[in-house]
Amino acid sequence: MSIVAKFEVHYSQFLDPHGKAVEPLPEFARDPGNLVALYRWMVLMRAYDAKAIALQRTGQLGTFASLLGHEAVNAGVGSAMERDDVFLPTYRENGVQLMRGVSLKELFLYWGGDERGCDYAGPRRDFPICVTIAAHVTHAVGVAYAMTLRRERRVAVCALGDGATSKGDFYEGLNAAGGWRLPLVFAVTNNQWAISVPRKTQSAAQTLAQKAIAAGMEGIQVDGNDVVAVRHAMDRALAKARAGGGPTLIEALTYRLSDHTTADDASRYRGPDEVAEAWKLEPILRLRSYLMADSAWDKAKEDALLRECNEQVQAAAQAYLDTPPPTAEQMFDHLYAQLPAAFVRQRAAALGDE
């Protein structure tokens, strides 16, 4: 018996749940202005989230997947990326999307059941939300491959959940990304649940970060409620990718504080104690505590920010509600670059059929 390979999985946290720094902060976080900027985004995300749920509850939006508790992951990922990188999101990264220039109105349109919400005016090359779990991991491989082939210094960032790490597409993509050393970062949000299925049912792997080992790439675990840890891991992974060092998998540990979606009732499968415990770790309070202790933030600023976010969200919701409904030709007009003759009659019939 000899040992032919050895691996370690590292975990990183900078701010503990009380907002105390437990490690010297990385460069970017030493400037409180940077952290305040992240904080503002996180608060906007929460305001957006609350509004979306309110709209859904009042029948003005379709099924919505809340990102409550995921604000640090979203802000860490969103702030680290460059504008011309490509982001491939799931439904729980609306926060990242906002930071990349997707508008609140576009997000509302999307959840309102309107494809126009995926025609992002901002990040034109970002992918739309991938609903079929993990399918987009393979898309990310293709995107990153294209970047490499053209010798660009861009990076693809693929977001996914803990449940997604059980799916074949995840692994096929991960394995290929490792093989070609692609400029690709896998941002895995381990929020402990995939609908009603707990993390430990998904896999006997102690960490999801170690899935990277199967692909011959680096995997790291971070405290996903600590925006500094997420951002720092992203910074390093992106820099490595840009330098040709290949892909990284980041497992961000957090908790889904909400139901899976507005169509779900999480109390059916998990107890209130667990959720209450998780609230103690939540990311916004943590960052605020740090900033307040640092005197970079105060009550007045908080009130002003909340007002500002609510107004912004309110205005976007109104713009969404004011958007005229899509018309029947939209079923046909972006199906092909040019609608084939065979379907022209169907289009006409659809328009005629009120």
Binding site: D114, A134, K167, Y269
Partner: protein, 326 residues
């Protein structure tokens, strides 16, 4: 006898058969403590234990493949795929293995398994929750494809599907899960597989449909009746193998046929029915067969899906066209 919904009927059939036959196991995503996202497996984990009601990892090819292994090894797995939109990754396993195991081993191994999945649009759900993949499954040799349209038929057909010694893809019309209730006797009696159900007799035209479009088609028949048109309505129920004789018999009497499905038109199951008629009923047809179908487009997001699905108006228009044909 209780008045229950279609999804309750599914639940009832599952419980009944798990009680009767301990080789029956249920597997899928969220089928355990959550009882399935539509509650089709509600209470089963508590009653039969997590060993027989398995929450699987999030992996559809695994679910299908695992069911194949279980079935070949003597269990009777009933696998749930959460939505038909996620069932495409099971096609490889169902086509290349479930449908072939018996043939390939000349009967030595077999796959008595059921893959259940909710199908169809119209529930204002997100993308990929509106699929109608029945024709893709119906093309696969060695399997059965069943698509009930009422609580009673769902109960009886699911029992039949579980007891069937071969693989069955069991499609469930999401839109009808809770649309109406019906009295269902929980008597363990299976409904016949491989047979169409004539839901309404009529003399002027035959309306052929299945699954989620059945109520809409019946409603069209009602409205037509008010207008003096007598429409026969056939619920295909088992799409593979097809009981074409019932349809041919009806068309022999009515001379006209409209086939209704919400699936995208090209290579839909409506094409199969129309082809069967083109081959076997030419002399009986007084008017061309018409397919009333979804368009050959992606099912739009929820805000537009009502413009995608064929409704009563389109069915009635097709019937009128058939009647007007000289």
């Amino acid at each position: 006898m209780a008045q229950i919904t279609l999804v309750e009927a599914i639940n009832l059939a599952l419980a009944r058969e798990m009680e009767r036959d301990e080789s029956v196991v249920v597997l899928g995503e969220d089928v355990g403590v959550d009882g399935g996202v539509f509650r089709a497996t509600l209470g089963l984990a508590g009653r039969f234990g997590p060993g027989r009601v398995l929450d699987t990892p999030l992996a559809e090819a695994l679910i299908a493949g695992m069911a194949i292994g279980m079935a070949a090894e003597g269990l009777k797995p009933v696998a749930e795929i959460q939505f038909a939109g996620f069932a495409y990754s099971t096609i490889d396993q169902i086509l290349n293995h479930a449908g072939r195991m018996r043939h390939r081993t000349r009967g030595r191994l077999s796959c008595p398994m059921v893959v259940r999945t909710p199908c169809g649009a119209g529930i204002h759900a997100p993308e990929h929750h509106s699929e109608s993949p029945e024709s893709m499954f119906a093309h696969i040799p060695g399997i059965r494809v069943v698509y009930p349209s009422s609580p009673r038929r769902a109960y009886g057909l699911l029992l039949a599907a579980i007891r069937d010694p071969d693989p069955v893809v069991f499609l469930e019309p999401t839109r009808l899960y809770r649309l109406f209730k019906e009295e269902v006797a929980d008597n363990g009696e299976a409904a016949p597989l491989d047979a169409c159900f004539t839901l309404r007799e009529g003399a002027d035209v035959t309306l052929v449909t299945w699954g989620p479009m059945v109520p809409e088609t019946l409603a069209a028949a009602d409205e037509l009746a008010e207008q003096g048109v007598s429409a026969e309505v056939v619920d295909v129920a088992t799409l593979k193998p097809l009981d074409l004789d019932t349809i041919l018999g009806s068309v022999a009497r009515t001379g006209r046929c409209v086939v209704v499905t919400e699936a995208a038109r090209t290579c839909s199951y409506a094409s199969e029915i129309a082809a069967g008629l083109a081959e076997e009923a030419l002399l009986n047809l007084l008017a061309p067969v018409q397919r009333v179908t979804g368009y050959d487009v992606v099912v739009p997001y929820s805000r537009l899906e009502h413009r995608y699905m064929p409704g009563k108006a389109r069915i009635i228009a097709a019937v009128k066209k058939a009647l007007a044909f000289a």
